[in-house]
Amino acid sequence: MYNGGKIITGLVIFIGLVSLPFWANMGGSYEQPKIELPKNSTECIAPKEEMRTSHMQLLNDWRDMALREGKRTYISASGKEYTISLQNTCMECHTSKAEFCDKCHTDAGVTPYCWDCHVPPKEAK
């Protein structure tokens, strides 16, 4: 093999560089962002853990229920009734997009485009 040594050294350097972000992040600990919880209500439509891990699936289901099946009333596991609506139900309690939604989304590096259409509540500046 011509220049075998050089090629292998080159490869090692290349892989090292490419995986640099990975090495740089090693050992660090992830701290959950401090989000602002609603002041005017104590209970969400589902347990906190469930909302944390699968609010996106729930919103997806809500969309189909409301738009396609015409079902716009949600009865939670605890028997409470809610109107199926991101804008009129979720954002009624979570009145600050910046202090609630954005905090985790920014941390997780996701940019959901919900807000291109759904109007978040006005933030007090």
Partner: protein, 261 residues
């Protein structure tokens, strides 16, 4: 050998029977009750119909100003932007007799008819060509006849615009928000994003809370809205008592909007 085959078949048969019974047993075990598991239901106040339809009395509603008032209400509650020029977005607009009924035009119309303006909107057709061509099913027909849009799914291919014989659809060439007063928009209804197609939705969000469509409510009786399949409904009554026509009958989409001439 024989014995074991026999046992095997017996066992297989029993297993199969068990498998058949399992779903029933599971359903029985869970009690089939709704409580305890989150689920969705239709709003208690929802207005129901087998087939929603609209009848416009153009003897009462026929001026540009009157139709404009209805369009303003519709566009306001649905956050339809006001974009000047060819990129405009519209749910309810107006047209002349010739524009509304191009196939039914006459060479010497009455002066009255020549002056009249007609409100135009999506016809919520019985055979909607827009639904047939939509590759993502973003446009779909509900069981009650309303041709609805799921903007989440629209990819902006505009097949539906090409397919609709009535020009009932508008494409969002750009973000509509700069063309709206964001302080005055209807917070209860979303806006749209760039790159989706939109149109009149027969006010499904109002029917769901027991209210009539906004243009119907605002028309002071000139527009009737109701169930086409119910012989005792308000729309069937006005259809029985008046001569009505629909737009472009030859294309076969069977519009759900009727015009009393």
């Amino acid at each position: 050998m024989k014995q074991s085959r026999r046992n095997f078949l017996k066992f297989a048969g029993l297993s199969a029977a068990g498998l058949c019974l399992a779903p029933t047993a599971a359903a029985l075990a869970s009690g089939g009750g709704g409580a305890g598991k989150a689920h969705a239901v239709v709003n208690a106040k929802t207005l129901h119909a087998k087939r929603w339809a609209m009848v416009v009395d153009t003897r009462k509603l026929n001026t540009e100003e009157a139709i404009e008032t209805l369009a303003e209400v519709c566009h306001h509650i649905h956050n339809v932007p006001t974009i000047p020029g060819k990129q405009e977005v519209k749910w309810l607009w107006e047209g002349t007799y010739a524009e509304t009924f191009p196939e039914q035009e006459n060479n010497f119309p009455s002066e009255d008819l020549e002056k009249r303006r007609f409100p135009l909107l999506c016809n919520h057709c019985e055979n909607p060509s827009c639904v047939r061509v939509c590759p993502t099913k973003a446009t779909f027909k509900r069981a009650d006849g309303i041709v609805a849009m799921d903007y989440h799914r629209c990819i902006g291919c505009r097949y539906c615009m090409a397919a609709c014989p009535y020009g009932s659809r508008s494409f969002n060439f750009m973000d509509p928000r700069p063309f709206m007063d964001m302080d005055k928009i209807n917070k209860k209804f979303p806006t749209r994003m760039r790159g989706v197609v939109e149109k009149c939705n027969f006010c499904v969000e109002r029917l769901a809370i027991g209210e009539m469509p906004a243009c119907v409510e605002k028309s002071s009786g000139a527009i009737t809205f109701g169930d086409l399949q119910d012989p005792d409904s308000s729309v069937r009554k006005v259809l029985r008592e008046n001569f009505t026509i629909r737009r472009k009958p030859a294309v076969g989409t069977e519009p759900g909007v009727y015009y009393i001439i």
